[in-house]
Amino acid sequence: MSEDTQRFLDRLAEARADRAGEPTWIAARRQAGAARFEAMGFPTRRDEAWKYTDVRAIARGDFALAGDADFSPASAATLTLPIDAYRLTFVDGIFSASLSQLDGLPEGVSLQPLSVALAENHEAVGGPLGRLTGVEFSPFSALNTAFMEEGAVLRLAPGTVVEKPIILQFLSRNGEAPVMSHPRVLVQAGGRSEATLVEHHVGEEGAANFTNLVAEVILERNALLTHYKLQEAPLADLHVASIHVEQARDSRYTSFNLNLGGALVRTDLISELNGENATSDFYGLFYGEGRQHVDSHTLANHNAPRTFSNENYKGILDDRSHGVFNGKVVVKPDSQKIEGFQSNANLLLSDRAEIDAKPELEIYADDVKCTHGCTTGQLDEEAIYALRARGIDRQTARGLLTLAFAGEVLEAVGLDAIAERVELAVAGKLPERFNLAGLVETAVALGDE
């Protein structure tokens, strides 16, 4: 076993002391996670799934577990999304009741921190934990399971329609020493329920913490869930997340995976399309600058006939940033009448930026329509000309088109506050040579009227 693996296991041993009273099944699951992590160690670039992502920045780190959830309400307010919503807030992984907002939760909706849900009724809540994302999935899922303690549980009774979004806010503090957290999210959406879930990762400048999140999402028949993952963590944060979705017949899961922050970011998004007419929509946008490394893996498993997946991911990479896109569509034997569409487009703004893209199709049934397109390239010269013919100089035209490139994903975003925030962020991140000052604000202002 490597020193790195040992260091994390040592931290686990320290944490265990507090957990004497937990139910035996949780202890057993945790142990299985630890054993699996010990056996696998951290992935290396020799592992196909990690070919382009080097996790040594995490493996070599020494992360404590946070001791409290103190966070100045004033600075939290500047980070919180201006959305009228129900909100659970976690500070370095620890639940903060004072920064949460659960008033007026409609009937049929249960939204609790994992620790509370388990304490109240661990058997009913705990059952599905680990069913979708097992410890085998990756060393990180094993590690999350070993440390599993806090997180969020959202349960929607059949037929419940939640009008306001539900926000899970993860705040990262710039503390004395880096810390790690292993949030575990469980969503059970009953039949015909509808909800919007926002997972928001944000924090104080200068923070350099490690977040290792696992989310398991279960959609019953005809449930509709829109899941925004807005990751604008501090630029030195390390972020690994796996989101595993199980979809019954007629359900629809729409994911927006918006990555702006973090030094090293890896997201695995997997949907199991288990019932006819289930649909997964994956939208993604990543923007890399400095030496950011952003890796997005998606997988749509078409396990049943007449299931549909659509994917549209866009990446913009500047400076020495490195982007990775790996999108996979798998059609299992006998899953006929499948439609799977995948599109990935990337723009490199700098000669030292790099993108590694791998759009995969694995198909074992014949009555399918699957396509993927993957483009890395240049802005449309025709469009640049059209803008110049209106008096806009070439650089501004390029800036506009770069923003537009991101806009194609943002157009589908239903929550204006998120679309605007990301658009402003992208406009702000674009190199100065793209002279876009003031443009986006104007549009936002117009939209607000």
Binding site: V368, K369, H372
Partner: protein
Amino acid sequence: MATEEMEQLVRREYKEGFVTDIESETLPPGLDEDVIAFISNKKGEPEWMLEWRLKAYRAWLKMTPPSWAHLDFPPIDYQAISYFSAPKRPEDRPQSLDEVDPKLLETYEKLGIPLHERAALAGVAVDAVFDSVSVTTTFKEKLAEAGVIFCSISEAVQEYPELVKQYLGTVVPQTDNYFAALNSAVFTDGSFVFVPKGVTCPMELSTYFRINAENTGQFERTLIICEEGAQVSYLEGCTAPMRDENQLHAAVVELVALDDAYIKYSTVQNWYPGDEDGKGGIYNFVTKRGDCRGDRSRISWTQVETGSAITWKYPSCVLRGKHSIGEFYSVAVTGGRQQADTGTKMIHIGEGSRSSIISKGISSGRSNQAYRGLVKIGPRAKGARNFTECDSLLIGDQCGAHTYPYQEIGNSTATVEHEATTSKIGDDQLFYCQSRGISEEDAVSMIVNGFCKDVFQELPMEFAVEAEALLRVTLEGSVG
């Protein structure tokens, strides 16, 4: 159309030529340094060549077979293979076409193979094929006149040691991969082509080669060099089913194109795919790579792959020269329990280098096919461009088609486009054809041919025609 009928249509039963029970002069199975020394000695090789082989062998011992391809087969026992077998004596072969399985001949007929070639293909003793001998001599004279060297690799080691020494292993190093290392240690057959500066090879080397196709070996090594401004078109293999008793084939092909040179390499591969359960078919593990070493050089790979139980090959281009061009056009048809993992690598190093990839896969029966490709754009490859189109057609509900394209792009001025589709033959397309009075069989063949058009048009004319016929025969299912 009912799936069953469709399967009926496409189920392919390979009618192998005949079974021979004649033992040829072979070395006992097993591989060690003595065996390599024996091979080298038999071939009358100089000392450096033996050293070169041994270096490869020692590297191979430390390597493990690749496991990442989308293939499934039992481990190969490399000590159970015999690494040297002397050419068969003429008296051990069929003495005339009368001794050849009539069904094989029928296939040749369907494919439109010229009479004098059929004998050679069926393995009839060469001296029985009077025509081809004289034809061969004419070709040799014509090539010599142009200054083109074309001979077996063994002959080249003896006759042109300096050229071999200069280029061998410079494109595919001995230690490149498991099978290339094995090949480097034990290769016995293969071709050597050298086209000097400014010369356009006066004929397609295909024709010559086809007549001599019989020398297909287990560990072939081919080396083609085009000097500045030279051009050659080379066709390997043959549309007719090849008779072969070696299960493992691990060939290495190296192409070198200097400034302004153009090498066009076409392959038609139709080796025995095994019976319906995939038993006894050929394992085809090939390393093919072209080095566009010179500015404005161009290397084009075209392949039609219908045979073998397992195919593992990625003809690739290293685009080192400025404005060099790499091309890969592929049609792969699999049926039964065939497995094919094929694709290409385009490594862009030179400024303004361009590559295009068109891959068409047709899977039927219980076969599995994967396209695996890499497009890599290096930081100095300013303005590099790649276009990839990768389409799969599925016939029957028990086959698989997979696409694994890798793109590694490190240059902001590059343009890389990849498109892939997977679909089945549309019922509406079939209905449309049938409603115009075309039989179902013809309609399938027509649609599949249309699907492959972009690749077929890259083949030398005569082979394009044969390839279409091959496809039709393959899809008919019953060759006889």
